[in-house]
């Protein structure tokens, strides 16, 4: 080996030249014929199987390639026609007849048949391990009538049925394709009647969607190619947007001020059904007493938490149901921050000398740690000593689902245009143990009864009343301390328009436009 300084310098220069010449080739702009939009987000989906998807990163991507008989309107509250253009409901509210839109084809060119609809809906309903089995169990049968009519029978009047059928688990897929490729392939490359076709998916890296040439809505989608990339670091994501490397991205609240200050970018705001709250384990002996839970509600300075954690972009919430969702009770009593009242209630409950509680925080989640630290200070004023335990996310959530926790931070976004999903999660004991809170007792049973009644009540006004009463009970019983609700934010460059995201979080990009 012979290293002279000259040679080393020459090597270095050669290296630099190569680097800079690579820099040149990359920046030559190709003649743009097709419109291609690239969006980045922080985390990749795990499955696109409509029967198995359960996380927001899966669910929000569902209506790129898939569609149901009906779909959620942009406001997240109403139902609009999709594959079925009309429908009738029987007098007893137990039979629904859907008439298929004529000549709709799947993205593989096959025509949509009633058999496909029957197959798809029953597949999810009967799928072992599907988180949606319980909700769909109300569907007694799905049958066909003639060549273009599907008859759905339910076991009891179900006001949420249309909403349920508009949800992604009821997406219609071609039976022949699904049976041919099997579950794994459905999860990786679902075929449906949505505006796009998923043409490639490199896990943890990017999904590429192409325009579905068979899409039934004339002239849509407006972009030829849509790419969803994964960029875990938020700083990098925003820098990519600023440099023009990507066209759009969701914006974490922490970055919002920075992005809004950039005059080259546009930030769209969409109301959301997401509510952040603190779950109190009602099955825990210390928190079993409702006075203790009420005391904690009074001892929580929600205003301060909202300002710090949502950077002022959140709105205080007083129910686990967001104001952007239907049946939100607008007349709930105001929650006050009152440390004296909290102390009183704690003394009544026998904790005059203080109370020790533990909160489980996902390690590495700085906002949760911040939330816990603030809460520790706030609760300390009422004599509650909050111990912060940092454990990894999977352990924390497994402790939560096993009821082995005291205080836990969480949030939920509604997946349907109806109130029944969240209400049942929170008030019906047998399904998820009142969403892991272990809430029980007379009041809980009362709330459960209200929710069950509302689940069968076809009169909208009456339903609103029932759900309203239920929200009052929940607020009084405090299985959770509602904190705030934050909108969804999507930032994009100026040449992008018509970005849509409904309050359920679903991206709707078929009308997305990009001008050059």
């Amino acid at each position: 080996m012979h290293f002279s300084r000259k040679k080393l310098m020459a090597l270095l220069m050669a290296g630099l030249c190569t680097i800079s010449s690579l820099g040149m080739t990359g920046s030559i702009v190709k003649a743009e014929e097709t419109t291609r939009v690239v969006m980045a987000r922080g985390i990749d989906s795990t499955t696109l199987d409509p029967a198995m998807a359960s996380k927001n990163q899966d669910i929000w991507m569902m209506n790129f390639a898939l569609e149901g008989l009906v779909r959620a309107a942009e406001n997240g509250k109403d139902i609009e026609p999709a594959l079925a253009d009309t429908w009738e409901i029987s007098e007893d509210n137990l039979t629904y007849k859907f008439h298929l839109r004529e000549g709709v084809k799947f993205s593989n060119g096959e025509e949509v048949t009633p058999e496909d609809c029957i197959y798809s809906i029953t597949r999810t309903r009967d799928k072992e391990g599907s988180p949606w089995q319980g909700m769909l169990s109300v569907i007694e049968s799905v049958e066909k009538e003639g060549d273009d009519t599907i008859v759905v029978k339910v076991s009891q009047p179900t006001p949420a049925l249309l909403s349920l059928l508009a949800m992604f688990p009821c997406s219609i897929m071609p039976q022949s394709y699904c049976e041919e490729v099997g579950d794994d392939q459905i999860a990786n490359a679902p075929v449906g009647t949505g505006p796009f076709i998923l043409t490639s998916w490199e896990k943890n890296s990017q999904m590429v969607f192409e325009k579905n040439p068979y899409y039934w809505q004339e002239g849509l989608p407006t972009v030829d190619e849509f790419v969803m990339t994964v960029v875990a670091d938020e700083n990098t994501r925003i820098m990519q947007l600023q440099s023009g490397q990507i066209d759009m991205t969701d914006v974490p609240l922490a970055q919002l001020d920075l992005v809004k200050a950039d005059s080259n970018l546009v930030v769209d705001e969409f109301p959301s059904t997401a509510v952040d709250y603190i779950i109190l384990n009602c099955a825990n002996e210390k928190l079993e007493d409702v006075r203790v839970r009420q005391a904690l509600l009074y001892a929580t300075d929600r205003e301060a938490l909202n300002t710090a954690l949502s950077f002022g972009y959140g709105k205080l919430a007083d129910s686990f149901i967001s104001p952007a969702a239907p049946h939100y009770n607008t007349n709930l009593p105001e929650i006050t921050y009152d440390v004296e009242k909290a102390k009183e209630l704690l003394a009544e409950a026998g904790y005059a000398d203080g109370l020790d509680l533990r909160v489980d925080v996902g390690s590495g989640y700085s906002s949760e740690l911040q939330e816990a630290t603030m809460l520790k200070e706030q609760w300390a004023k009422a004599g509650v000593n909050l111990e912060i335990e940092q454990i990894d996310r999977a352990t924390a959530s497994s402790n939560w689902s096993a009821g082995d926790y005291e205080v836990y931070f969480s949030y939920l976004t509604s997946d349907m245009t109806d109130t029944s999903q969240l209400s049942e999660l929170w008030c019906v004991s047998e399904s998820t143990n009142c969403w892991g809170s272990g809430w029980h007792g007379e009041k809980q049973q009362e709330a459960e009864a209200l929710v069950k009644e509302a689940g069968m009540e076809m009169d909208e006004e009456k339903r609103a009343e029932l759900y309203g009463q239920m929200q009052e009970i929940v607020l009084e019983e405090v299985p959770n301390i509602p904190l705030y609700t934050t909108p969804f934010y999507v930032a994009h460059s100026k040449n992008i328009d018509n970005v849509k995201q409904n309050p359920l979080g679903n991206y709707r990009f078929e009308e997305l436009t990009k001008t050059n």
Partner: protein
Amino acid sequence: MKEFNYIIKRILQMIPALLVITVIIFAGMRLIPGDPAITMLGTHYSDAAAEGLRHKLGLDQPLFFQYLLFLKQVLTFDFGNSITMNAPVWDLFKQKAVVTLTLTLVTAIFTIIISFIFGYAAGMSRHPLISKTIDSIALVMLSIPEFWIGIQLMLIFGLNLKLLPVGGWGSTWPEHIRSMILPAISGAMGTSALMIRNIEEEITKIKKQDYVDFAYSKGLKKGVVRNRYILKNVMVSTVTLLSMRVIGMFAGSVVIETVFALPGLGSLLMQGIMARDYTLVQSLVYIFAVIVLVMNLLTDISYSFLNPRIRLE
């Protein structure tokens, strides 16, 4: 022949090591709380759904049976499907290994270039000012976190000068290489700093050896002495250090991958652990173990080439 026997012996020694590793990984993954069904269901967890999912994934089978299945996968090198990602582990590994391997190679090249130039300069120079300056810069480089350097580089070269991409991996090879430059520089900083100090120290030590003086007194040219007597002896410890760092980089530089949005092995493994994706983590760790053992063997073999006084026995 002796060398050949040595290599065979080392390969045979790997077998029990790998067996022990399978037990450790398998037990390790099951001992940490949480399970894939819970993380997969996330906020839509219910006991019934979790039970159904466990059955579907075969997680309700006896543990010993599950371990045997893992052993079978290991022996046949057919690792099965990742639980949470619906894709064969081997395919995922190959896909991500390309990224990580490229990153590791480019980083290693940058590391070698930077550290040899400065380490050599610092070690050989007679002016204390030069070595002191290089030492201090190396110390600073060592203490700056990788992600900070990464963000600064992206700000300067990506956002302001628009010379290089702001993270990402691109879709063609020229794009891949271009996107590797900044991450490789950020990754090379810390390692180079270590290597610079090491090379410098070794050179100053070897400079004072008798055989170097002897070489000079034989009348050999300065350059010859430096390259043939000094540099070659520096190589042994440098190769050890570099190979250790390269193995580390290959098993995943999660920070660099995250900051630069590179879909590599580090993030894959991290995600697998977070999701309690047993098959994915078990198989990846096993593959890493094989790679580490092979790399160690290769490093040991390379010693005998670099320094004939070291014999393989």
